[in-house]
Amino acid sequence: MENAPVFRARGLVKRYSMGDAVVDALRGVDLEVGAGEVVAVAGPSGSGKSTLLHLLGTLDEPDAGSLEVAGTAVAAMDERARTLFRRLRLGFVFQTFNLLPVLSAEENVELPLWLAGVGGRERRARAREALAEVGLGGRVGHRPDQLSGGERQRVAIARALVHRPLAVLADEPTGNLDSETAVAVMDLLTALNRSSGTAFVVCTHDPALIARAPRRVFLRDGRVVADERGAAA
């Protein structure tokens, strides 16, 4: 499936049980994300942004609907296949950075390559290259607790991109950053998208970030209520 979209979701439904109550997090979401696209998924808290991201990232399974990633139906993948798929084809950026505190910046970025079985020398070279791309070429040996919030998120972005995935899924990547750093991080994501051709799906409710995204999908109560392309109005 050479020209298949990176993600093709049809009628995605996800329900959570909270005690006796059932919460419909997603109520039939259709979404297609092409190769190299940057999509901001926006909406208020509880609109289903993170749930959608988890389903796209094969971290969770839908209760109904279908999802294809790179032309392969996720429903046909077993746990091992999904793990391998994430390892080789996806990158993740989290709001709280989620770096391993005992590893240096370089070692954190090496992690996906190590999981993919890339040899030590190449691994180190590519990790340094990725860190240089996010402007942290001089901080390779620093551990997360020696870095600022913005620097940590840039390490996380380098980690998400180092193995050249099809798509990077970012959940509130600027949620823990000040506005100036948030804008810088978003600009970095956009620049990396241009240079790497990797698709980005970014969940956010930060208006500044939403405005910078070339495509904006709005969710409300588990449904897509708008899907805008082009410069924000």
């Binding site: 988890h54 746990e79 390892r87 005992v102």
Partner: protein, 414 residues
């Protein structure tokens, strides 16, 4: 970067907790080493005391006597060795044999001029050979038996203190020994008390007396010996030497048996079994304590890192890799803790031995003993293996917890 290295680094995250876990493991390891060292010392001390207390490493005796399973002190001269001198020469020619001593056992009644009497168990031997063999009786009063065979009418005996007290005898006093010879005739022997001794065994001290082989032969009207006791240069050669002796003595008439000291010392087997039981009990307590303490620590460490495990799973780390990471952290703890424990144990052994602590006499013994703890290399290696097993067990619950984590829930865990 390897999983094992990542696991090792993870131990540095909460240093205080890791230090406490290491201390628990090291203390348990050291406790086991000290116990093993003390048990080994007790086994060695007991076995050497029994061998050099009169059992010898091996006993050469008639096959019929060995088959009758009579106790060593009841070996009859009637079923003894008439050609013991020739046998002694052949046995002592073997390499690794320190000496072969004829022994004659004589049981009977001892009486005094004042009319007191008591049953005795007499052990007669050759003082020169016995000295060479390391047979030692603690002389409390008087003097030892002379090396040369006493002339008729000049027989001398050593009395155990308990027997001397019941007869009211002191060194220099005269006494009469009565015993039945192999023909069933009652013989008497007048002797002078040369000295008072202790055997080290309280019960035996009430009956024991020691005399020269020549005196006992006069008492029993025999030129034979009940058996030949053989001591070796090294206790660990007992079985090898036994096989050599059996080859050497094959074809002898009447047929001879070579009995190892362990077969004549059921007490040793019982003590060994008791000590092993105590060691196993203590070991199981240490085992349980370390499992419980470290299992809780590992579980806490996992619960604090739920989000991190979720991240690792999201990035494509397999369940087995994440479980392996937790397992490796446990194994590192076990290995480092056991190595620390080995070092601690070694230091404590040196210190305890240097303190020269005196312990009260063991049950049945009369003399206090100096506490010594031996280095048991097998125990040092064994505790490392044991602690790796313990920590593997302790990591089971945390591993199951990690393996069951749902990624989405783990990522949102607070």
């Amino acid at each position: 970067m390897r999983l094992a290295l990542l696991a090792l680094r993870n131990l540095t995250r909460n240093r205080r907790r890791t230090a406490i876990s290491l201390a628990v493991i090291a203390t348990g390891t050291a406790a086991l080493l000290l116990t093993a060292g003390f048990v080994a010392f007790s086994f060695e001390g007991l076995s050497e005391a029994m061998i050099h207390g009169g059992l010898g490493h091996l006993e050469v005796v008639r096959q019929s006597t060995a088959d009758s399973h009579t106790a060593t002190l009841e070996r009859s001269v009637a079923e003894g060795l008439d050609d013991w001198e020739a046998l002694q020469a052949r046995i002592e020619a073997l390499p690794g044999v320190r000496a072969a001593a004829p022994t004659l056992y004589a049981a009977g009644m001892a009486s005094t001029a004042s009319g007191k009497s008591a049953a005795f168990l007499g052990v007669a031997g050759d003082p020169v050979r016995e000295r060479r063999m390391g047979f030692t009786l603690k002389l409390r009063e008087g003097e030892a038996l002379a090396d040369a065979p006493p002339r008729e009418g000049e027989d001398r005996v050593l009395l155990a203190k308990g027997l001397a007290e019941s007869l009211g005898l002191r060194p220099g006093d005269r006494m009469t020994l009565l015993a039945v010879d192999p023909d069933g005739m009652l013989n008497a022997l007048d002797a002078v008390v040369a000295g008072l001794v202790t055997t080290g065994v309280q019960e035996l001290d009430t009956r024991y007396l020691k005399l020269h082989l020549a005196s006992a032969q006069r008492l029993l009207g025999s030129s034979g010996a009940s058996n030949l006791l053989v001591t070796l240069d090294r206790t660990d050669r007992t079985e090898v030497a036994r096989a050599e002796l059996l080859r050497l003595l094959a074809g002898h008439q009447p047929p001879l048996a070579v009995v190892p000291w362990t077969a004549r010392a059921p007490f040793y087997g019982q003590v060994r079994a008791l000590y092993k039981g105590i060691f196993a009990f203590l070991g199981s307590i240490v085992f349980a304590l370390v499992v419980l303490a470290t299992s809780n620590t590992l579980l806490m460490a996992v619960m604090e890192r739920v989000r991190e495990f979720g991240t690792l799973r999201a990035l494509g780390t397999s369940i087995s890799q994440v479980a392996g990471l937790v397992g490796l952290e446990a194994l590192w703890l076990g290995l480092l803790g056991a190595l620390l424990g080995d070092a601690l144990g070694a230091v404590l052994i040196v210190v305890l031995n240097a303190l020269a602590i005196t312990m009260p006499p063991p049950p049945g013994a009369v003399d206090p003993i100096d506490l010594q703890v031996l280095f048991v290399p097998e125990a040092f290696a064994g505790t490392i293996v044991l602690m790796l097993v313990v920590l593997t067990l302790a990591s089971a619950a945390p591993i199951v917890r990690v393996a069951r984590l749902r990624i989405v829930e783990a990522l949102t865990h607070t």
